[in-house]
Amino acid sequence: MTEKPINNRAWLFTLPVLAFVLFSSIIPMMTVVNYSVQDTMGANHFFWNGAGWFRDLLNPSTEIGARFNDALFRTLAFSLTALLVEVPLGIAMALCIPRKGWVVGVSLVVMALPMLIPWNVVGTIWQIFTRADIGLFGAALTGLGINYNVTQNAVSAWITIVIIDVWHWTPLVILLSYAGLRAIPDAFYQAARIDGASRWAVFLNIELPKLQKVLVIAVLLRFMQTFMIYTEPVVVTGGGPGSATTFLSIDLVKIALGQVDLGNAAAMSLVYYLITLTVCWIFYTIMAQIERRRDA
């Protein structure tokens, strides 16, 4: 591929985007940074607090530190669990979709539907579905004798949120994987048949390697989305029982909008944001690596 010409005038093209990014993220973040290093005695009177908020936040022995720590680990555990279910399930389902025919169109359309439902409605759907009195899922489980109660039983709540996320977002993994699979030329499958390869060998040696890049994107997107999940748990469990399903976003919003604890909220926001930045950077590097190896 010919080298791209260097043209610094191209910045002009990106000016509109830059303007929006400035407005949408830089200016707001400055506000946050501002609050995170100041304290207030009320009545709009601020004084410098340096790294005070951060120290409290990152120290598990303080109240805020403990709360942040818990929420962070809760969220990471949730992300990991969701990923462990969604990625294999997504790939498996993508393998089940045929390469052409009417089944493809129907499957993709049906699968896209959960992703187009407003997140609060997703919450509502499952709020109803998991109730023992009016929901099929809740009634079925309770009928089988399982102690299932989303609002009172922490395990039920956790498993339910995972199931909701799997229901809601596995289609994204499926669609990405399917696109990746479709990009594999027929000749590879044909050659594998001639070589006498088993279905499993085809998966390991042809499909999985060719899906690398897609899977990295899928894992990145899903990790990020689970890491900042907010609406669905709020609607279904309210963050409970207790704080069993109070993930980072939920906690942050409680602190920021609920109380007048701007300093804590701001510090928490920044740390939260930095974590996402770091993860993003790691994935970006991995993707670049894969690209470089592929072009070699």
């Binding site: 791209k4 260097i6 499957s107 959960p114 439902i117 499958y189 980072l248």
Partner: protein, 268 residues
């Protein structure tokens, strides 16, 4: 061809399970509250559109639906329009800081809305846009603009650079080239991008409710008010929920042929 019966069955079961909660919601929406509370049935025995009628006849519901559609539409138009030149630049040229800018856009895509809820609240209040559709439309640009740039850049890459060069040789000015020649070539990509912008703006709820209070309440906020004296109005809630799925279903139907291609995004 290479598929046996088993994968088809598995797929079918998965699709059925996927539709089950949605079906349940539709089921709820076609019944009355007293009927719902009296017992669990698998399909409505006396289906009624009463709750749907209630929603259509209630101006606050209708207004809210319009509000939601409006800010989504505004956001989609802005995101795509702003992203197009940037996507072109990222794909066709190298410039100082291009890799860094691209990465930074990507991080905005991943930014937790919760982090921005409070700052946005203050910002939009300060510029007087609080409680308008514009606040939500602009706020959603936080993630939709980077997404649009990302997707469009892939599609721009699918057009050979020779076309640009030929147009330049043929004497086209850049704006004319872009609008008359280039845009039709990536029409597909623009459609896919618009679809994704629509999707992510339509479904987002935290920012939409934080930045509005009475005039520009989105549908989601009105839904949370579905309490009555006798407890949760499940049937009403369910009907409202079903209505929110319709724009999504309509949009998928229109882009159904491009979904797989769109997800490829030129990046697989």
């Amino acid at each position: 061809m290479r598929q046996g019966l088993a994968p088809r069955l598995v797929l079918l079961v998965y699709l059925l399970l996927l539709m089950l909660p949605i079906y349940w919601l539709v089921n709820m929406s076609l019944r009355t509250n007293s009927e719902i509370m009296s017992g669990l049935v698998l399909w409505p025995h006396h289906p009624t559109l009463a709750k749907y009628r209630a929603i259509f006849n209630d101006p606050s519901w209708v207004h809210a639906f319009g509000v939601s559609l409006t800010y989504v539409a505004i956001n989609t138009v802005i995101s795509v329009a702003v992203a197009l030149p940037a996507a072109y630049a990222f794909n066709r040229y190298r410039f100082i800081g291009d890799k860094h800018l691209f990465f930074w856009l990507l991080t905005n895509l991943m930014a937790p809305a919760a982090v921005f809820a409070m700052p946005f609240f203050q910002l939009y209040y300060a510029v007087g846009l609080f409680d308008t559709v514009w606040a939500v439309a602009l706020a959603h640009c936080l993630f939709n603009v980077p997404l649009a740039v990302w997707i469009l850049e892939g599609f721009v890459g699918g057009v050979p650079r020779e076309i640009d060069e030929t147009a330049a040789i043929d004497g086209y000015s850049f704006p004319r080239f872009f609008i008359r020649i280039f845009l039709p070539l990536i029409a597909n990509g623009v459609g896919v991008t618009a679809f994704f912008c629509f999707m992510f703006s339509w479904v987002e709820e935290l920012l939409a409710t934080t930045l509005t209070s009475s005039n520009a309440l989105p549908f989601a906020a009105v839904m949370t008010r579905s309490y009555s004296a006798s407890g949760m109005d499940w049937a009403l809630l369910a009907s409202a929920g079903v209505l929110t799925m319709i724009p999504g279903a309509v949009v998928i139907w229109f882009v159904r042929n491009h979904i797989a291609k769109g997800f490829a995004l030129g990046r697989v």
